[in-house]
Symmetry: C3
Subunit: 338 residues, 3 copies
């Protein structure tokens, strides 16, 4: 009967055996935590958008806050997007315009946007795993898990799911935009002109081996990374995650997530290829976006690997299973007494 | 009562506390409303298609109607599809065959179908928001929300969700078909021939600025519109919509939906670009499909904007929160008495 | 307590009315069957991966088995993948290297992988419907449905859903990989070289009618097949399948599934086109992958059609509704007595 206890709802089960106030309190606390997922909602309103859907009384409407868990991720996504957009605009449109009077405005709707999307996507994905790293470091430092996290970290922890889903959303957009490249007129005309030039130069073979390799690999890695993210996203559907055991869910969310972050980073690095040493990339001494994009993910990945070293790993696990580093915890108490 | 046992499960809850007839009635009423979502179903049958899945007694099978809420949307989709197909066939295949003996039958499997898909998709999406407009007008005219809607409008209202999901389905197909264009042999051979001609004509540059702009913009808009529709579709998954508050769900379903309809319409208009004045487009005096496609959406959007004007908006909201225009409601009563 | 009412769970319901051992046994059996979908899981752990997610006691972790229903499908997928990969590697990379010193290693990341994906996808999809065929044959032979299936068949039956979802996963990957072809540098360079050659040969028209037709059709069929699979996958989301009636679910799962298998097979056959008689395809006397791929699906489809013949169909249905072929069942009893 061990695992019986925590079946999706607990609640009724408790109710049935006339539960005490404490239970009730516990319950509401729990409801708080999972609010994104179990916020009360009248079925017949939420599930069929039917004739009377406007009957929800105004005061109720104003009581409810819109997407509380989504605000932070969306804000960050918005900021990163706009910064990257302006940055790319400067490098890809304004620079050629200023230096050599070339107009590349046509690049804005797709090419510029598709430099923003991957940037945002990988940043958000990194931000899913950064708080875990910070939490581990904090716990190691405190030597106990019973000391509260700072509120901002707690809040961040609770919105990781939203960070991940948003990251997936941007990744999918990035994929579709990329797949749409060759169907665009601009691509067709370029292709025709290249063909024309090749004939003019009477060049037998246009093949550039290393360039071919580069693209084959990063496209393939990108697709696989996206596929893993898709699995993550699917397991975030409430009724799907309900159907998983704790271990299954944890396995997918932590392992697959990190692997897809790793793939995404390699995807970006291989896209970069030899551009790191190519001075033409650094217009106005600014690095290309992909170099900035991989910065945060690489840090997260390095930290993850450090924390995975046996010595630290075991200590973290001990702490997370309730063990306390007496020396430190004492210090804490003392400091709190002072 | 056989299948009652394992319904996700309101019912039992009621049964437990030996509920009164009223409850029972309420329950059945509610079941009606949400039937697409809460129709009773034996869990172990529905969720793993397992060995005994054929044990469902015949009579039960015949009692249950297949997809009651999907019939109307699918019928309409089928009619619009076949009409658009024939219309496009006439314009794109038969016309050149008759006038200039050119065989373009190869266009049927992809190019013709991919003119049908967007047409159906945007029409269905417009039909999601049309009944809302009509309902508002009716309520404004009646001056109360307590007068019943005509049954056809009520039925339509209840199937909006299905209209929307079907529209999304066709939109996705449209996207995939479009993305598959450049990988087709037909496209490759055309490209090679264009290159050949360019060389023959010794044309330095194939670039057509306005054509490039047109495509960059409508592709980009199309992708964003599809992304919004995807969000709508995801929030229609029962367990996801359960996890949203009434306001959140309503916010997504009404606002995002209208925006994606708007984007879809602009997507079509920019695809049209300058073809409106291009007489070659009007073969046999028939307008191209995209002109017909945008007709309904534009009407819906105009109506939506009209109903959003402060004066009307406030009045509708007042009505929907229970206020009644006495002068009119009296009229109604009188007329009903006569 | 408004929202309490509508959460699923059988279990408590039984517990509440102080149920007897039989119930309990039934329950656990049922839990077994639907374990992928209803395995108990702590909501606040599973649904927001939050700060305390590591608190799950170790012993509990070790009790729970990871993805019991997914092991068989994933194993089979892994075996088929690696075999197909090696086989394709041999035919596409090693053969040209050995015979004509040509290096095609660049094909591995995308082209080779994208021969593996469809192979695995269609095989898994065939394996979804094979056990149903076998079960029918067994039931026909036994003349009753009350005789137990061999355990391996039972186990297979219970993992059909997972086979199907995995097949869909590979199908989607196959689609994305295929769509990415024209955006690859390798494709661009080939295109440019073809254009160059066409000019050299002063060839007016590169068009190859039958080749165009072939691709238009198989691409179109592939997309439609994928769309149907997507519908199947969506209806496998627990909360979605809950919202369907038994008939609706059964209708989609059995009919749509078989149709998509059929479409997939035709997709492969049309891809093959006239290559069956093209000796160049049989390098080192090995048949191309698509010939091997369609083998199993065709067998399944043939069997399905045979079992659909009126005479057999009616008998199977009679058996599945409880009718027993006395002559045979007696035999069975006797044999079991011996």
């Amino acid at each position: 009967m061990e695992n019986r206890k925590d079946i999706p709802n607990q609640e009724e089960f408790w109710q049935m055996k006339a539960k005490s106030l404490e239970d009730d309190e516990y319950l509401t606390k729990d409801m708080e935590e999972t609010s994104m997922l179990k916020r009360p909602v009248p079925l017949h309103l939420a599930q069929t958008t039917h004739a009377n859907e406007f009957d929800c009384p105004l005061e109720l409407q104003h009581k409810q806050q819109l997407f509380p868990h989504w605000r932070l991720p969306i804000k960050i996504a918005a900021v990163v997007s706009s910064l990257t957009f302006l940055y790319t605009l400067l490098r890809e449109i304004i620079h050629p315009l200023v230096t050599s009077r070339q107009q590349y405005f046509y690049k804005i709707p797709i090419l510029v946007i598709n430099k923003v999307l991957p940037m945002v996507s990988i940043t958000l994905l990194a931000l899913v795993y950064l708080p875990g790293v910070i939490a581990a470091v904090v716990q190691l430092h405190n030597g106990t898990k019973y000391k509260k996290f700072p509120p901002w970290l707690d809040k961040w922890m609770l919105t990781r799911k939203q960070f991940g889903l948003l990251s997936f959303f941007f990744a999918v957009l990035h994929a579709i935009y990329s797949l749409s490249y060759p169907m665009r007129r601009s691509y067709r005309y370029k292709l025709l002109n290249w063909a024309f030039q090749q004939v003019q130069q009477n060049k037998e073979d246009a093949w550039i081996e290393h360039d071919v390799w580069r693209m084959e690999i990063y496209v393939s890695l990108g697709i696989v990374g996206l596929a893993l993210l898709a699995l993550l996203a699917v397991t975030s559907i409430p009724s799907v995650s309900d159907s998983l055991t704790w271990r299954e869910f944890h396995y997918i969310q932590s392992n697959l997530g990190i692997v897809s972050l790793l793939l995404g980073t390699i995807h970006a690095l291989i896209f970069a290829w030899n551009k790191w040493v190519d001075t033409k990339q650094f217009v106005w001494y600014t690095p290309p976006t992909f170099m900035i994009a991989v910065f945060l993910p690489i840090i997260v990945l390095i930290w993850k690997t450090i924390l995975f070293l046996p010595c630290l790993r075991t200590k973290i696990l001990r702490i997370r299973h309730g063990w306390e580093d007496v020396t430190k915890t004492n210090k804490i108490e003392m400091s709190s007494q002072l």
